[in-house]
């Protein structure tokens, strides 16, 4: 059984049908990069997976639990950590508190243990010196790395990453991608929506290409960047447009 099973979902906003009878499975390993032009429903797909958006039809199972059942949402969200394009640090808390609040409140982790784990993840994202900083003392890249660490604090089985670098300048983008590459090499399961082609080429084990709410292509990265590109005009156009 795949960890995430998306089964024939349809999702629309008003009359705008974003995902149409959409199905895909994700195994519990590797990095899947989700590509596609703007407005094709990449964010919507991720948001449906962890129940931030309700689907109109179809079903999504995470670890065999249906997202349609409200009672499962908590467990599903604990299983799938999500980081958003827009950086969000809780402004009333310092970095350490941002990291340990949810494990303490939701997983009942003892404070000392949570602090130790937070230090471990802060080190991993290269911010061990920022424990006491507030959101306004952090750069965008640092905030995003903290958001990643905060998601990891919940021990998720997979990370859903929605264009986590697209609000950052190139230098900060690099910082964040380095972190993600390290996580990938440690075998953390990730679903990344991104426009960073180099990142896709380097770490993706699988590439999905969405267009018009449909899955156009689902393949390995070598195949995608060579064969699929040659065979599918739409993909070729997209890759050329994005400067690849």
């Amino acid at each position: 059984m795949a960890m995430i099973e998306v089964k024939n979902i349809t999702k629309s906003f008003g009359s705008n049908i974003v995902l149409r009878d959409f199905s895909v499975d994700f195994e519990q390993s590797g990095v899947t990069v989700i590509l596609g032009p703007s407005g094709t429903g990449k964010s919507t797909l991720l948001r449906c997976i962890n129940g931030l958006e309700k689907t109109d039809k179809g079903e999504i199972l995470v670890d065999g639990l249906s997202v349609n059942n409200k009672k499962n949402l908590r467990q599903i969200r604990l299983a799938c950590g999500m980081v958003f394009q827009q950086t969000v640090i809780f402004p009333q808390m310092n970095v350490m508190e941002n990291l340990i609040m949810s494990p303490i409140k939701l997983l009942k982790t003892p404070k000392g243990e949570a602090v130790d784990r937070a230090r471990f993840y802060l080190k991993k994202v290269g911010l061990e010196s920022k424990e006491k900083s507030r959101h306004n003392e952090l750069s965008g890249g640092e905030q995003q790395r903290i958001a990643i660490a905060r998601a990891l604090m919940m021990n998720p089985k997979a990370l859903l990453l929605d264009e986590v670098t697209s609000a950052l300048d190139p230098e900060m983008t690099r910082e964040v991608l380095n972190i993600l590459e390290n996580l990938a090499s440690e075998g953390v399961c990730m679903l990344c929506v991104t426009h960073e082609m180099q990142f896709a080429k380097d770490v993706a084990s699988r590439i999905l290409f969405l267009d018009g709410g449909k899955l156009i292509c689902d393949t390995g990265k070598e195949d995608f960047f060579y064969n699929a590109r040659k065979e599918n005009e739409r993909i070729n156009k997209f890759l050329s447009f994005i400067g690849d």
Partner: protein, 225 residues
Amino acid sequence: MQEAHVYGKYAHFAIGDLYTFLSSCGTTLTVTLISLFLGSILGIVIGLIRCSHNKVVCTVPLVFIEPLRNSPLVVQLFLVYYGLPVVTGTLLDVYSAAILTLSLNTAAFFSVLVHNSIKAVPVAQWEVGYALGHSKASTFIHIIAQQAVRLLIPQAITLYIGQLQCSSILSLISLRDLCRVGQLLTVRTMQPFIVWGIVFFLYYAISFPLARLASYLEKRLNYSY
């Protein structure tokens, strides 16, 4: 009887007038503070109901809020003090009527501030809470509430200052507050400039520091998201 005392015995300022002023200041402050306290609590409850995602539930409080926000306080006061006893059959004393009116009025305005402050916290903060596994209530308590309170505080102080000044209207049902004592002493001493000058100064002396505090807190507490 006290009013007779003020009217009758003295024709010019006496040392007792100082006491009269101070005690009336006390009345103004007591009535206002009690009303602000009760009004804020009720306002929080109503403001939270306003935040409900259920279309019906979130509209219900408007039945309470809108009439109170869109009618003069003095009319609300007369309705409570003179009108209500006709329906309920029990007379309200001046204090109760004053506190009841000012509390309800404050609650209406306060609930709007509460609602707006909660709405002013970016949706992204909620979504991150949900994505971490928090329920709606848990997200509100652990993530949103503190941010909303920080946005609320300066606005609340500004409302409180306004309500303190509006409390002068309560003198119209003979509550012996600062304003009422001003009227009484003017009649007795025939020194309106001095009397109203003092009343003016006392209201100002209470409000001004609060106003400064509000603008200070507004700068201090504001998040730049």
